[in-house]
């Protein structure tokens, strides 16, 4: 579909004698398709989160706008874009404006290496996993600069907490992926899935502990409850985005949900076999993309269930959990996997 549109546009450019610019068509078409798709998906996720939380609390949730309240997020987005943009007077101007853009772009850029189906990704990078981890950790810059430039003590506290949190949870996040990389012998997300297809099992089976560590640290990376101390409503009002309103707030909000999508997509690709069908259901005529989205929704449901089940951690508990539990266990996991590769020739 994407290639079809891109080809058509390239031919059109050639027809008007601008074939020299044909190389920009593919990235632009991919970017537009990704942006549209992801935005709609984020809107669906916001609706889903509200429905999930509502049913967990014996409520119904949004049911007024559209069928089952599906258009509620559209209404909310319209409201946010038409709101007055209130800016603190003594803000630090440049970081204040740049922060929401970084928060959005850094997470959105992570989407480009995710394989949605066999060979379908915007860029088939051979360092895909490394790229996703490094580009999404740029959000800490956005959050810190948002907190600093708002000139508000709550925002600043939120920014500092976020820096401490993201830096310490980046470590177990990466270390939980290391055993998989060691076993599969590649950093390319497409090849990781192909390895799982060849091996006949998903990495969640031998690396269940790594999967748990990854999900936990991904939740922390996305600043989601129970690790939402950077925005902790009851303590810090809104944390780093206290002083943001209107479209800028929407950018932070969008960035947060895209961060969930990116980390869930990485979890699905690395641990749950990406576009591969469920075992024993491979003969069904379901495209790989549908399998991918189904698994993605499952992982996102898990992350949402965390939010609506677990109480928020205290700052010191958060650091304890990160440094005293997740990191030692992930190191142990790497060691055991290494021994298994050494003695048995392949991962556990």
């Amino acid at each position: 579909m994407v290639h079809l549109i891109a080809n058509l546009l390239q031919q059109a450019l050639g027809a008007v004698g601008l074939s020299g610019f044909a190389f920009i068509i593919n990235p632009i078409v991919s970017a537009v398709v990704m942006f549209g798709g992801i935005s709609v998906f984020v809107m669906f996720l916001v609706w889903m989160e509200r429905k999930v939380s509502a049913h967990m609390q014996s409520r119904i949730g949004p049911n007024r706008v559209g069928v089952f309240g599906l258009l509620q997020t559209v209404a909310d987005a319209l409201k946010l874009t038409t709101k007055e943009d209130i800016k603190p007077v003594h803000r630090d101007k440049i970081p204040y404006y740049i922060a929401p853009i970084i928060a959005f772009v850094a997470t959105f850029a992570g989407m480009i290496v995710i394989p949605f189906d066999k060979g379908v990704s915007v860029q088939n990078l051979n360092i895909g996993i490394l790229y996703v981890i490094s580009i999404t950790s740029f959000t800490v810059i956005a959050i810190l600069s948002a907190g600093w430039s708002s000139n508000n003590k709550f925002a600043l506290l939120g920014g500092f907490r976020s820096a401490a949190q993201i830096v310490s949870y980046e470590v177990p996040l990466v270390m939980s992926l290391v055993p998989v990389i060691m076993t599969a012998g590649t950093l390319n997300l497409n090849n990781v899935v192909e390895y799982q297809q060849k091996a006949g099992y998903w990495f969640v089976v031998p690396q269940f502990i790594a999967f748990l560590i990854f999900i936990t640290s991904a939740t922390a990376e996305a600043n989601r409850a129970p690790f939402d101390i950077p925005e902790a409503e009851s303590e810090l009002i809104g944390g780093f985005h206290t002083e943001y309103s209107g479209v800028k707030f929407a950018m932070f909000f969008l960035g947060e949900y895209i961060a969930i999508i990116v980390s869930s997509a990485v979890a699905v690709t690395v641990f749950l076999g990406g576009w591969l069908p469920l075992p024993f259901l491979g003969s069904l005529p379901i495209p790989g993309f549908a399998w991918f989205v189904a698994k993605l929704l499952f992982v996102i449901y898990l992350i949402m269930a965390f939010r609506w089940t677990f109480p928020r951690l205290r700052v010191d508990q958060l650091m304890d959990f990160g440094w005293k539990v997740l990191i030692p266990i992930s190191i142990l996991n790497i060691l055991i996997t290494g021994f298994c590769i050494l003695f048995f020739g392949k991962g556990v």
């Binding site: 049913h55 014996s58 677990f310 266990i329």
Partner: protein
Amino acid sequence: MGSLLSYFKNIIFGFWNLLVGLSVTTKYFLSMKTNTQQYPEEKLPLPVRSRSMIKLIYDGEKDQFNCVACMMCAKACPNSCIKLEGVRGADGKRRVTTFKLDFSTCIFCGYCVEACGFDALTFVAEEYENSVYKRGSLLQDEQAMKWVRPAHLAPKPEEEVKAEAASTAKAGV
């Protein structure tokens, strides 16, 4: 060695606890049960004496309002939001002709209802959806406030009330 064991035991125990928590919320999520009242579709019956709306009692049998335009309610009103006029009828009794209550300044204190000596003003429980689209709609006249009291809400005969009061007084002694 013991501390190392308790370290792992703690982690496994904590993980089990988290699983239990998740299972509870997931059970509720899948059951799709709701305990909330779905307001516009479902309405809770309000208690009979709740103060929702002030109404002018209309006597269906005599085909007239109970109000005799004695002006006690207008005098009792702290915001002077009641305006009414009456005329003396053919039978020599005063009857209300126009009755206007401006609900935009009314504070629902109930003084007018208390001041009424002719059982003409009352609070009504069931009409609690009082929002309007225009401010002017809050100024209601006697036709908008007309309310026929259903039989089950009719006041008890005087003898019965007196007997009840006597019995409670006795019980109190």
